[in-house]
Subunit: 331 residues, 2 copies
């Protein structure tokens, strides 16, 4: 295992310390239990948004804490759900009296622990939205129902902007449900990743193989097959995504091409080009985009595509100012 | 070779097409010869800044084209210098009558081709600054003298802000020389990368080996040795950097922890933590930072450290608004 770490036991703690040293103007890090909150938390009278999940998907979620996005993030161990006490403590730390929205990716442990935390945080008014945008598989390892993947990043940006402008808890949570209802994703891998604790690759792929429909923890996808040109791979992901909602002619879209961690940016732009071309052939217009490493799987090589069907309100909120470690615009 | 590409011959062209599709509000892409200019180029009366070099280091340089940074970028083939005609055409396309600054990384081909282009672009008033911040080696493969690496990113941001506020060509070029005189870098690799045309890894490293002082094209560094904990590796890079300028107690610093492309962000924050701690022990304060993949070597796993000794003007220019595909703040 080749990693820039000191000890697998200390990976998350030391990375959090690094984040606190780098981004003290934006966020504060609490240890034992571990969570990150925005520097000015709790923001009185504003709906607070909390997300979290296993570490190893950076910049998600800690990189999204700040003005216009998340109020808090709970990082579990690598690829491991945060504990209920982490989520409870973070919920209480960010509650500014207007309620707390939990944005939870659909993995069994995450859902259970956020649910328990919501009960434990008795004084906070909590609503939860579970993101389940991955069309690749229905039930899978760690998940009943579809997995939550790239749609989470978009939901956190859009709902963060709604909370920042003063929407109440029900409005922000309903918006989050609307984003989830209109977003679909699918990923693929060229290589595995290695969880520091495990010390060995999560799975093995042959020199000329790829996995279509991969999960962000290396969970099996739809099929393992021979490597193909980028344009064809893009079509293999895009077609089931488009046909699932379905997205259709005239729809305005946010197209999100996400790198899994070990894929050069130059390749993501090749995929972006292919995806825009395929969508144009279907009469679908890409109105907004996101290209880069936003929800990763450590050093996995591969990518995922996410499509969100936009409406005017979502576009306005997507364009709204944000200032976090990983995403910034308008401020 | 596992890559999300269609054909090694088309990697750069297709990625440029993807960039044009994604960032039409920020930049325009010209093909044959290939170059990128900001959408509003030429900006009348503003000093224009051009950079470029081999592709494969994304987001550098194309991701830095826009308000407050570069007016143009010339991407060569992967790890190959742009041709004189590319550089000439881009120089002419961005010249707004106030002169053009070429920011050139110190590689023999880059230096020669930018120099020839400056002569060919007869009507443009061109000054060139060569960045040579890599302390790892003196002459090396492709280079007479020190290589230009991470300092280039910082020079482009700072000089871009100076040009944007209206400084004249000599002022912007002199500032660029000052940044270069005060910046030092060194990198290391855990793995090689694979150039699409070559189809095979540029070099081989054993399962427990790393290369200290690696170049951004996989050029040999100072030594190949057994893998160590991140804190020790950080010290191995930081000590020669600090002692080279030398940086000393009381200095105010910009600390740049750069991922080579295949390194998870969580690891870069572990390195950042280590570097801040080591600098504090020397009485050196980190006033500004940059953490992430900014000057990469395709999918290479590894990182580089860059230290820039700041003065008040550099801080003001570092903090100034910028809006490019890869770097954005204040707008």
């Amino acid at each position: 295992m080749k990693k820039l770490i000191n000890d697998p036991e200390h990976v998350v703690t030391e990375a959090l310390e690094g984040m606190a040293l780098a981004h003290g103007d934006l966020l504060r890090v609490h240890h034992d239990p571990d969570y990150i909150v925005r520097a000015d938390a709790p923001v009185e009278g504003k709906v607070a948004i909390l997300s979290g999940g296993g570490s190893g998907h950076e910049p998600m979620h800690g990189g999204f804490v700040g003005h216009g996005m998340l109020d808090g993030a709970c990082p579990g161990a690598v690829f491991t759900s945060p504990t209920p006490d982490q989520v409870q403590a973070a919920t209480e730390a960010i509650d500014g009296g207007a309620g707390v929205l939990h944005i939870v990716k659909n993995y069994t442990g995450d859902v259970a622990n956020f649910e328990m935390a919501a009960e434990l945080a008795e004084d906070a008014n909590v609503r939860s939205v579970v993101i389940n945008d991955d069309v690749a598989v229905e039930d899978s390892l760690y998940t009943a129902g579809r997995r939550g993947v790239g749609g989470t990043v978009l939901a956190e940006k859009i709902c963060g902007a709604a909370a920042e402008r003063g929407d109440d808890l029900d409005a922000v949570a309903d918006l989050c449900e609307r984003v989830n209802a209109n977003v679909r994703s699918m990923g693929m891998a060229l290589t595995s990743c290695t969880v520091p604790h495990a010390g060995e690759p999560t799975f093995e792929l042959g020199d000329d193989e790829m996995e279509i429909g991969i999960g962000i923890h290396g969970e099996p996808g739809r099929q393992r097959m021979s490597l193909e040109p980028a344009d064809q791979i893009t079509g293999r992901l895009l077609t089931p995504i488009v046909e699932d909602l379905p997205f259709s002619e005239g729809d305005r879209m946010l197209l999100f091409v996400n790198g899994m961690g070990g894929t050069p940016l130059i390749e993501l732009y090749i995929v972006y080009r292919a995806a825009v071309t395929l969508l144009r052939d279907r009469g679908i217009t890409v109105e907004r985009h996101l290209v880069g490493d936003w929800i990763t799987s450590l050093e996995m090589a591969g990518m995922s595509l996410t499509l969100l069907k936009l409406d005017d309100e979502m576009i306005e909120l997507w364009d709204a100012p944000v200032h976090t470690a990983a995403m910034r615009k308008g401020m």
